[in-house]
């Protein structure tokens, strides 16, 4: 999450917004965001439907696994990757999307 916070100005440049998602309650996420000094939102999804949609909630596991998803501004999923966020790859995809946006 701190990596996303460090890259916020780059995301802004590429017209992107970032959010974390977990199954925690809002109060817990609020406390965590304050603890890390995050200025972007953390989504509270106790039901877990976002995890099911985006492949972050595996059968038999109560919690999300680490997954990063990029949805472009036209509502299409452009990137999905399991594991910790690869910031270089995320920025590369956002740069490509920004280029496409400029070309439209």
């Amino acid at each position: 999450m701190e990596g996303h916070q460090r890259n916020l100005y780059l995301y802004d440049r590429f017209n992107a917004r970032v959010a974390g998602v977990s199954r925690d309650q809002v109060a817990t996420l609020e406390f965590w965001a304050k603890d890390l000094g995050l200025t972007f939102p953390l989504f509270s999804n106790p039901i877990g439907h976002l995890g099911i949609w985006f492949g972050a909630l595996r059968q038999g596991y109560p919690m999300f696994n680490r997954t990063t998803v990029i949805i472009d501004k036209w509502g299409v999923i452009r990137y999905m990757r399991d594991g910790s966020p690869d910031y270089h790859e995320i920025l590369r995809v956002l740069k490509q999307l920004h280029g496409e946006e400029a070309g439209r």
Partner: protein
């Protein structure tokens, strides 16, 4: 007017999907696999409460405005 109505219907659809997920038995593995989206597919719209005390509405806040990067984490205070 029509646009507002279709947005309302889409939101109702999202709410019904959420309710169906709540009602789904724990062993409904096939249904889950069907619900999973893949790269190139259209993302479902959603509304979730955020740590900033706001309601994030994909349709209102992101669609047609910004690309959205979402990172799923197991729980608060876990390293990412």
């Amino acid at each position: 007017m029509g646009n507002t109505r279709s947005k309302g219907l889409r939101r109702l659809g999202a709410a019904l999907i959420g309710a169906a997920l709540l009602a789904a038995p724990a062993g409904a593995a096939d249904e889950r696999a069907d619900m999973m989206k893949r790269v190139g597919e259209r993302a479902p719209i959603f509304q979730v409460v955020t740590s900033q005390g706001t309601l994030a509405d994909y349709d209102r806040d992101y669609y047609g405005k910004h690309h959205l990067v979402m990172t799923f984490v197991p729980a608060a205070f876990t390293p990412v």
